[in-house]
């Protein structure tokens, strides 16, 4: 029985003896017959009550949550910790946690969530906060120079090739697997993601994929519809680009400023900006019969300059030439397109991680909460088959949602593993952050994380929390459809993956600024740069790891 449930029953006036009797009878009943399920409704109801309670903190539409709210949620979700750790058990232990500070989320939330954990366990946590763009360099330098100065690490699965393969991470103990209920993860986040050579290292706190957010009012506004001829959300990139070109000259229904179509970020973002070209390219390049789409898995020869990728680059170049983007778009990174443009009322749509969907309704800075709808990333009328070298036109188009980044996880490093008590403390903190109930809150409120568990897709819970049922079905549905898509474009967990992305951003910037003669020349420059990186890191090992990450070995 969970301590939380026990405490709740005690508050209702039950004696300790009653509680124990109740637990024993529940176990007996469940063992004896299906009728026992009725008695087991007790803990389930308690869980439900807790989940409903945390979803009311601070309440949908009550503004952005504050540190006090994060601490309250952390306190309420301490049940699992209390069941596995005695009060004050980690007194005197000091841990260092390295993570992000994007939009004042991530580490800022973790601090709040872990504050009650620190009070209860007696451990103390020091924080290393990094901007997203600084993250890769800091991590790589720590690894290369042997100066890993953190015990707990917030890290994306793409970096597992850099860390787990070098023996820097501590294997997850079995009790943590039970505490965080790993079976509840959505399928694509289950092993091999989070594992290396069969060992599990990751407490998942996020699921990642890009989905399309689109403004409904752009489809109902008569002037805009008249100009674009569209009353339903564009489903393919061909439709989307046509929409973006035709909307030119119209006014935004919310702000009255010039209306724009799809928002592509044209400026780099420390490597992360490349995901946004991938959103377009995956529809053209990810063939259902082939898991690979970035490199040829047998040679690591880049596919980034094949006709599919060139088409994606060409699409963006055509939109630039048509003047279909806001002024200065060439200087807009993904943070700008999401938070300064789309959520602030500029542009009809964009592909982004799920926090745009969550923040649209709950963040103070969003003005589009009532007019946004969601879907999986646009597809394409045609798809390129790398094996045959031919374009194909599948019936209904080709869709390949981009599983960009595979979500953040919390990992424990070998630095914490020297002392068994410290190791337990580190894993307990990680498990607290990856707890099933706490994760419901992070997927419902601004946190930088999106739904990643099967249990997150219980629409009733969201409705009770105050979300509009249709909105949340739409938002969560786009995530679920992407996660479960049979042709999902999976991110390769190979060392140096962000080096490839970073150099591609530089070359794309030149291409978008008109310094290359064509999309093909831009793509060729990226491919040449990628070949250099592969040779530098080691082609054979990259081939092996790339195949492994695609499940091809």
């Amino acid at each position: 029985m969970k301590v939380g449930l026990y405490d709740q029953l005690m508050r209702r006036g039950a004696t300790r003896r009653d509680v124990l009797k109740g637990a024993a009878s529940m176990a007996a009943l469940s063992a004896a017959s299906a009728a026992g399920l009725g008695a087991l409704a007790g803990p389930a109801m308690a869980d439900e009550a807790l989940r409903a309670q945390i979803l009311q903190i601070p309440g949908v539409g009550a503004g952005s949550p504050t540190d006090a709210d994060w601490q309250k949620v952390g306190e309420l979700c301490l049940g699992a910790t209390k069941a596995s750790v005695k009060e004050g058990e980690f007194a005197g232990i000091e841990l260092t946690f390295m993570g992000l500070n994007n939009q004042n989320l991530h580490n800022f939330l973790f601090r709040g969530f872990l504050k009650p954990w620190e009070t209860y366990t007696g451990a103390k946590i020091s924080w290393i906060d990094l901007a997203q763009a600084d993250y890769n360099a800091r991590l790589q330098q720590s690894i290369a120079t042997g100066t890993v100065d953190f015990d707990i690490l917030e890290m994306g699965a793409p970096f597992e090739g850099d860390t787990a393969s070098k023996g820097l991470l501590d294997e997850m103990p079995d009790w943590v697997k039970t505490q965080v209920d790993m079976d509840d993860l959505v399928e694509y986040l289950k092993p091999p993601v989070g594992t290396w050579d069969g060992k599990t290292y990751r407490v998942t706190v996020d699921g990642d994929c890009h989905t399309l957010s689109f403004r409904k009012d752009y489809l109902t506004d008569s002037a805009i519809s008249g100009a674009t001829g569209m009353t339903t959300m564009p489903k393919t990139w061909q439709q989307m680009d046509e929409f973006s070109k035709k909307i030119k000259g119209q006014k935004d229904p919310l702000t009255g400023l010039p209306a724009f179509g799809f928002l592509d970020p044209l400026k780099g973002w420390g490597g992360f900006g490349f995901y946004f070209l991938e959103d377009r390219a995956s529809a053209y390049a990810k063939h259902p019969s082939d898991p690979a789409w970035l490199f040829d898995p047998d040679t690591m020869k880049p596919r980034v300059n094949n006709p599919a990728w060139v088409q994606a680059i060409q699409d963006v170049m055509d939109l630039i030439a048509a003047g279909a983007y806001p002024a200065d778009q060439i200087n807009a990174d993904p943070g700008t397109t999401a938070f300064q443009q789309f959520l602030a009322g500029t542009g009809a749509g964009l592909c982004w991680w799920g926090d745009v969907g969550s923040m649209a309704r709950t963040s103070n800075t969003s003005v589009v909460g009532d007019v946004v709808e969601f879907s999986i990333n646009p597809g394409s009328d045609r798809v390129y088959n790398s094996k045959t070298g031919e374009w194909e036109t599948p019936e209904g188009g080709n869709f390949a949602p981009n599983m960009a980044f595979l979500g953040w996880g919390v990992y424990v490093t070998k630095r914490a593993a020297g002392d068994e008590n410290k190791r337990k403390a580190a894993w307990s903190a990680a498990a607290h952050l990856g707890g099933k109930d706490l994760s419901l809150w992070t997927s419902a409120y601004p946190s930088g994380f999106q739904p990643y568990r099967k249990s997150h897709f219980n629409f009733d819970e969201w409705e009770k929390a105050g979300y509009d049922r249709a909105y949340i079905e739409d938002y969560l549905g786009s995530n679920a459809d992407s996660y479960n898509h049979p042709n999902a474009a999976i991110e390769p967990r190979i060392p140096g993956i962000f080096q490839y992305y970073s150099v591609a951003e530089d070359e794309l910037a030149k291409g978008y600024a008109g310094q290359y003669k064509s999309a093909q020349e831009t793509a060729d420059a990226i491919a040449a740069a990628w070949e250099k990186i592969t040779d530098q890191i080691g082609r054979d090992s990259q081939i092996k790891l790339y195949k492994a990450s695609l499940g091809m070995s």
Binding site: A133, D134, N136, A137, Q140, Q141, I143, A144, D162, S165, K166, L257, P258, K267, G268, G270, G271, P326, A327, D328, Q329, I330, N331, D333, Q340, A344, T346, P495, G496, F498, Q499, S502, V503, D506, A509, K510, G511, Y512, A513, G514, Q515, I533, Q536, I537, G538, S541
Partner: protein
């Protein structure tokens, strides 16, 4: 010992041969110890032997011991003259350890293939990085941009001189304006890029964008075209650092004796003639110092570029430092990034040497 030296000797040292030998002995013994430990550590790192060293600290401690012995030996061997050396030697050793050694290690890295993601670690690769640099259009583009950025200093200098003349004149609230004009210098360039570049120049709601629309520029774009983007970066950097040049020139102006300008006026010189024939030549040494320090600052320009444009559009605003930053940080390409930085260092040393020679000739009084 010359007569001149003797004048400064307070006590006559009577240094015995054994004391001298002891002095030489401790230097050589500590030097041998340092060499031995360094070789042992290198052997361990290279995998030839295992002496159980965990870190490079033993070599550091041996170096400190050798430095102490070296300083002590100067006193033992040379007496009071040795004590004089002690005023400089520790500082020299400190500088050597903090600049020369890192420079040497930097050179080793510069000639290496070292990608942090590579499981093979650092490997010597001869001149490959130089060849790559030679054919790297991003690097040469950044160097060309640096020429433009550096040339902008002359405009900054003219503005700074004008402001300094104004603040040197007898105007109302002169002290207030002196402090007010200095304020931008107190701001971090990162803050400047956010406050001005990302907020005031925000194209929808930024006040400067609104003003531009009000003035008839319908779709203001401050970072869309290469020329405007480069100009905006120059302006933001200038706004931050013009006060620095201004304050130096102002100090120079205040040091000019009033008699000279008054004498010129008595002789019938107008304001322009007074400025051009008296003030400007007298200000040349200060001006050259201000411009050269500003050039050094400018060659390090990176923060505003990284924050605002990441070098874009298409590398138009890239500086050498911001490019190295991306190469080194985003791509973990340590060997190549270090080579780029070393080459830039050599260029700066050559450029500054030439500039100082020219400045020396230029600032000589006209005869």
């Amino acid at each position: 010992m010359s007569q001149g030296d003797l004048l400064h000797v307070v006590t006559e040292d009577d240094i015995s041969d054994s004391r001298r030998m002891f002095g030489h002995g401790i230097v050589w013994a500590s030097a041998l110890l340092l060499a031995g430990i360094a070789i042992a550590q290198y052997a361990q790192v290279s995998g030839y032997a295992d002496f159980g060293f965990q870190t490079w600290r033993p070599t550091l401690y041996a170096y400190i011991l050798w430095s102490v012995c070296l300083c002590w030996s100067k006193v033992l061997i040379y007496g009071e003259h040795g004590k004089r050396v002690l005023f400089v030697l520790p500082a020299a050793l400190f500088v050597v350890s903090l600049t020369v050694f890192p420079l040497l290690f930097g050179l080793i890295i510069a000639f290496s293939n070292w990608n942090l993601a590579s499981p093979l670690g650092r490997q010597f690769n001869g001149l490959d990085n130089v060849r790559q640099m030679w054919a790297d259009p991003f690097y040469w583009n950044a160097l060309l941009n640096m020429v433009w950025y550096t040339l902008a200093i002359f405009v900054e200098y003219a503005i700074a001189f004008g402001l300094a003349l104004l603040l040197n004149a007898d105007i109302k609230a002169r002290k207030f304006f002196r402090v007010a004009f200095l304020l931008p210098l107190m701001l971090s360039p990162v803050a400047v890029s956010w406050m001005i570049g990302k907020s005031m120049l925000e194209i929808r709601f930024g006040p400067i964008a609104r003003l531009a629309r009000w003035l008839g520029w319908e779709t203001p774009s401050f970072f869309g075209s290469p020329e405007i983007a480069r100009l905006i970066i120059m302006m933001l950097d200038a706004w931050t650092f013009i006060p620095f040049m201004m304050i130096m020139i102002l100090a120079g102006l205040q040091a000019i004796p009033k008699d000279l300008t008054e004498a010129a006026r008595v002789d019938g010189a107008g304001p322009w003639k007074t400025f051009w024939e008296i003030v400007f030549p007298l200000m040349l040494p200060v001006s050259i110092t201000a411009v050269m320090i500003r050039i050094i600052f400018k060659l390090k320009l990176a923060d505003i570029v990284i924050n605002l444009t990441a070098g874009g559009p298409g590398g138009a605003t890239d500086t050498v430092t911001s490019f190295i930053f991306r190469e080194y940080r985003d791509r973990s390409n340590v060997g190549y990034g270090t080579m780029l930085a070393m080459f830039y260092l050599v260029l700066i040393v050559i450029f500054m040497t030439i500039l100082m020679k020219l400045a020396d000739r230029f600032s000589r009084p006209r005869t």
